[in-house]
């Protein structure tokens, strides 16, 4: 990707491309819905609140000409953003909460590693350094300060198949510690995102360190995205990701609308 | 310590007044009582301002009492009473007024009872009749007095072998009497067959065991004998009276009334026995209570009223004239005036002015009252023996 053009002309061109349809906006967000699963921790711990909505008025005695709702949820409900402060490893970093992260970090390039075939055969499918390097062999080295998304098509799952809880906890794909280290320490990625309820595998507590994606990403000041949708509509490279969380004071994350700008050149799978 | 009761010498009851009953009325109790008072004044030849004693009974006067009526009706009484004793109100009014006149606290007492009957007033009266009724009888089927007296009747029948026909005999005789009373609400003859075939109301009570609630008023005057003579008013002497409340509280179910406690005194004071009574006016809210009065007032033994009824003719011309106006069962029950109807008729009978219902040579009458089924039984009872005087 080169940036030789005049920036204003670039933006004008982008706007034209958006209006002409040459650049598409792909919505990577699930609808906030009380029925959408949230992460389940052992019950003695505090839990992530699901999305809830209470109607305040609906053109009725509670407010004759207007309708509005109050909603409640966790910072980590639905399609959401994780800031470094979310994890203990990132708690002392500068600009580690959603309100202090520089805004330019909310727009950036994205690489999509397609693990959907493996995940369809193995609920505990692991993203390994080998898979990453194989992907690079095909699509080029992952650029610095770039989002990396792990496509598993898990977002197509419904009901209890999504968390896929068993006696020993949830089973869903995720990265190995080595894979996260490769991305963070050697590729200097901006963040890592998944379609599952967390950036870590369902059984991620059994790695060393436990929950390596959270631990290593946030320890290095990187961000997370989870519960993403429609990753199958992104090209492996070349899309632009917009991920602006709500500006919550000291917020550790936020539900958000994740959008990707994608060139409509037939590269979309 | 025993005190000898004083007689009612020098005091009489006079001027019997009945305001003809109506099934339903849009008017108030005040309206009905006013009409009775006006008629009383007219017949007595006195002005309302001359009436210095005033006694009222009514269920539908709320929120007023006798006090409110003084202003409403323009009376300036020096003796005032309000008697909420239902069917015993007439006897009680007579007793109190007679003593007040006798003692000189008042010169004459207008005794009045009257009620209106709005379409819904019977239900309203029942649901708030008394605290015990509200708490312990009305919630059980809300049959009102019909249900309560049905229980007494059921028990009486089982215990003494009374048959429905026996109660029917009382009702049929009273209807015959009522046919001679132009003011009676019931105008058609009643046969025993009709009585037996009537719609059940609360077993074993059927339609003709029940009084018809109506609007109406009754009244009489209690005054000095000398005043009655001076005015040329026919009047009745009060030979004796009794009154009792909440008698036999330990009886599991009512089979006798307070009369049974005081009947000896009733006859003793009057100096006569049951065979000296020419005409009897009982309180007839239900025929079973009539039977209890026959027994408790000494006309027959306890439990023998059914046989007594079978053996006697209770009509005006019969050997045992009873409830000659038709009583409440056939003339109608005008609320608290039901406690007056027998007394007013008795005054007429012993003074010979009963007209079409007159019993031949009726010199002495007994009237009894019974009232207030506070919970499961009538609590108030009273009786009086009256004899005619000469004008």
């Amino acid at each position: 990707m080169t940036t030789t053009a005049d920036p204003a002309a670039l933006l004008t061109g982008l706007a034209q491309s958006l209006s002409s349809g040459a650049v598409k906006v792909v919505d990577l967000t699930h609808t906030l819905d009380p029925d959408f699963p949230v992460i389940v921790l052992p019950p003695e711990f505090g839990q992530c609140a699901g999305f809830r909505m209470e109607e305040v008025s609906a053109y009725d005695h509670r407010g004759p000409a207007w309708k509005w709702n109050n909603f409640t949820c966790s910072e980590h409900t639905g399609t959401h953003f994780d800031a470094p402060v979310h994890w203990i490893s990132g708690r002392d970093l500068p600009n580690n909460s959603v309100d202090t992260i520089p805004a330019d970090k909310f727009v950036g390039p994205v690489c999509v590693i397609d693990c959907s075939e493996g995940a369809s055969q193995n609920d505990d499918f692991e993203l390994t350094p080998e898979i990453i390097t194989a992907w690079e062999a095909k699509h080029g080295r992952i650029p610095e300060d770039c989002w990396v998304l792990m496509r598993t098509d898990w977002s197509k799952r419904r009901g209890d198949a999504y968390l896929n809880m068993r006696e020993d906890g949830p089973h869903s794909p995720g990265p190995t510690p080595e894979a996260v280290r490769l991305l963070v320490e050697e590729r200097n990625v901006r963040g890592f995102g998944t379609e599952t309820v967390g950036t870590d595998a369902g059984q991620g507590m059994h790695y060393t360190p436990p929950y390596p994606a959270h631990y290593i990403l946030h320890g290095a000041g990187c961000y997370g995205l989870q519960c993403l949708n429609n990753l199958d509509r992104l090209p492996p490279t070349g899309a632009l990701l917009c991920t602006a969380p709500l500006k919550i004071k000291q917020g550790t994350g936020s539900p958000l609308r994740v959008m990707a700008l994608v060139a409509d050149n037939g590269a979309v799978s | 310590m025993s005190a000898t009761r004083k007689g009612y010498d020098g005091v009489v009851a006079a001027v019997p007044v009945t305001v003809p009953y109506e099934r339903f009325s849009k008017e108030s109790a005040h309206w009905w009582i006013a009409r009775a008072l006006r008629q009383l004044c007219a017949q007595a030849g006195v002005k309302p301002s001359e009436i210095d004693g005033f006694c009222v009974s009514s269920f539908t006067l709320f929120p007023d009492t006798a006090v409110g009526l003084t202003q409403h009706l323009g009376l300036t009484a020096r003796w005032l009473d309000h008697i909420p004793f239902g069917g015993a109100s007439g006897i009680t009014a007579l007793r109190r007024a007679a003593r007040a006149v006798q003692a000189g606290d008042t010169r004459m007492v207008a005794c009045l009872a009257g009620d209106t009957n709005h379409v819904d007033s019977f239900r309203r009266t029942l649901s708030s009749f008394s605290r015990f009724a509200q708490d312990a009888s009305y919630p059980y089927g809300s049959g009102g007095p019909n249900a309560c007296f049905a229980l007494l009747t059921d028990h009486y029948m089982r215990h003494y072998g009374a048959k429905r026909q026996d109660f029917g005999a009382i009702c049929v005789a009273q209807r015959q009497n009522a046919l001679r009373n132009p003011h009676a609400i019931m105008k058609k003859p009643l046969s025993l067959e009709q009585y037996m075939a009537a719609r059940a109301v609360s077993d074993p009570i059927a339609l003709f065991d029940c009084v018809m609630p109506v609007a109406g008023a009754e009244a009489f005057l209690v005054m000095r004998e000398e005043d009655a003579r001076a005015a040329g008013l026919p009047h009745a002497h009060i030979r004796s009276t009794i009154e009792r409340h909440n008698a036999f509280a330990d009886d599991p179910i009512q089979m006798r009334g307070g009369w049974a406690m005081d009947v000896d005194e009733l006859y003793g004071m009057a100096g006569l026995m049951a065979d000296g009574i020419d005409v009897l006016q009982t309180y007839d809210d239900y025929p079973v209570i009539v039977m209890m009065q026959f027994e408790d007032l000494g006309f027959c033994e306890k439990g023998e009223a059914p046989q007594f009824v079978r053996a006697h003719d209770l009509t005006i011309d019969g050997d045992f004239p009873h409830n000659t106006s038709g009583g409440q069962l056939s003339a109608g029950q005008a609320g608290a005036a039901g406690g007056y109807i027998g007394l007013v008729e008795a005054i007429r009978q012993v003074t010979g002015i009963a007209g079409p219902t007159q019993v031949k040579d009726a010199a002495t009458a007994m009237v009894s009252g019974f009232g207030m089924i506070n919970y499961d039984r009538g609590l108030c009872s009273g009786a009086a023996i009256l004899s005619g005087g000469t004008a």
């Binding site: 699963p37 699901g50 | 649901s127 049959g143 059940a200 599991p252």
Partner: protein, 418 residues
């Protein structure tokens, strides 16, 4: 003998649902003691503290010695029916719609005579057992029952007016995930409930007894999350018109009081489920139930809340949970007032610690799901309003009645004592 109740026919949709009417509810303050006795299925009369005379009807001074120390006391309900009548004409609309209605006079062995409703299997001169039942006005009334149980006696139409028998009725149990759910559903199925809806939240993660629930006769698992207004409203739209008994079985419980928790997260969850859950259910299901209080043999009849007995007095070890239940208890009283207009009863079932993961470290006795279910069904059949399940609950309410402040001090030392 009472004829067994047949399953009600399907409703004729062209007929207007009968508007619930009520027997007279006006009572003196003294007479309200009957409602209190009936609420727990006790037979109590006022007894004079000085001379021992048993009083009836309720009053403010002893009819024998004029003492004003009249205490409501459990007394023998044995007596004999000495008179009866069948009321065919009533001045009250409720009875008018239900005549013929039988009433009688019972002479109690302990003295007073009592006017009462009479079970169809009792004849005059029979020995009877008087019981105090709540009628559709919510007041306590006397009901003469056969001395010994008779076949199908619970199906007597007038008795059924006073009870909330699940037979042929349709029940909603909330919170399938609660460990009580299978036992409740099983007990209701055995009691003849014709349909047992069980509300299930968060169907996206499994729970162990779902298969057990599914196997119980007449059970239908429906989506319902009492913390989600939309979910409650949707289910009410679907089954609200045929919910005759609602069992508010959802509870959120965590140990801890105030300072050792350090936040209000669990406390909010406790309020969301235990307090707002009831409110959401009541707003969604209440109006239809209240409107169907006189809808034939399967009319809406009862709302059951399963509450902690620590609603009455805070157990500091479960301090915030206790508080949420105190709030729920208070709300249930409001609900009781509102549902009463339709003759629908609110029955609160108070339990001590239950045999579950949250009370696992507590010593016995603990209430097993089957015992809780028995208490719920038994309470419905008896038409109760307050049920205390298990020794801990019964002991606590005894102590509360003896002195709430003393109990409060006792509760300071209950750590580990349950």
């Amino acid at each position: 003998m009472t004829d067994p109740l047949s399953p009600p026919p399907r409703k004729n949709p062209q007929k207007r649902t009968r508007v619930p009417t009520r027997p007279s509810h006006v009572r003196s303050r003294a007479a309200l003691g009957f409602a209190a006795a009936a609420a727990e299925g006790r037979f109590m009369l006022q007894t004079c503290a000085e001379c021992g005379a048993v009083q009836y009807p309720p009053r403010d001074a002893c009819g024998s010695c004029l003492s004003v120390e009249l205490n409501w006391t459990d007394v023998s309900p044995a007596g004999r029916l000495i008179a009866d009548t069948t009321v065919r004409i009533s001045t009250n609309v409720y009875f008018r719609e239900r005549t013929p209605w039988r009433v009688g006079t019972v002479r109690l062995d302990i003295g007073p005579s009592v006017m009462c409703h009479v079970h169809g299997d009792v004849a005059v001169d029979d020995p009877v057992r008087l019981s105090i039942k709540l009628d559709k006005s919510g007041q306590g009334v006397m009901f003469a029952l056969p001395q010994k149980a008779t076949p199908n006696m619970e199906d007597d139409p007038h008795m059924r007016e006073m009870t909330c028998d699940p037979k042929h009725r349709r029940v909603l149990i909330t919170d399938a995930r609660n460990e009580n759910a299978p036992a409740l559903a099983q007990a209701l199925a055995e009691a003849g409930a014709s349909l047992i809806f069980v509300g299930e939240a968060e169907s996206w993660h499994p729970y162990p007894h779902r298969a057990t629930l599914e196997k119980i006769a007449n059970v239908e698992i429906m989506p319902l999350d009492v913390t989600d207004t939309a979910s409650v409203t949707e289910l009410a739209a679907e089954i609200g018109g045929k919910t005759d008994i609602l069992i508010n079985n959802a509870r959120f419980v965590r140990p801890g009081g105030i300072m050792d928790r350090g936040d209000v997260i669990f406390s909010r969850d406790e309020m969301e489920v235990n307090f707002f859950g009831m409110m959401r259910l009541a707003q969604a299901f209440g109006p239809a139930m209240r409107g169907r209080g006189a809808d034939g043999d399967n009319s809406a009849t009862a709302w059951v809340n399963i509450l902690s007995v620590y609603a009455w007095s805070n157990m500091p070890e479960f301090g915030a949970f206790s508080a949420s239940n105190a709030a729920a208890l208070s709300l249930s009283q409001c609900l009781r007032a509102e549902l009463l207009q339709g003759g629908v009863r609110v029955m609160n079932v108070f339990t001590g610690p239950t045999e579950d993961e949250w009370h696992q470290p507590l010593p016995p006795p603990k209430v097993l799901p089957a015992a809780l279910a028995r208490a719920v069904v038994g309470g419905l059949k008896d038409g109760l309003e307050d049920v205390f399940v298990g020794d801990v609950a019964k002991d606590l309410i005894d102590r509360w009645r003896a002195g709430p402040k003393i109990l409060e001090r006792e509760m300071l030392d209950t750590r580990g004592q349950g």
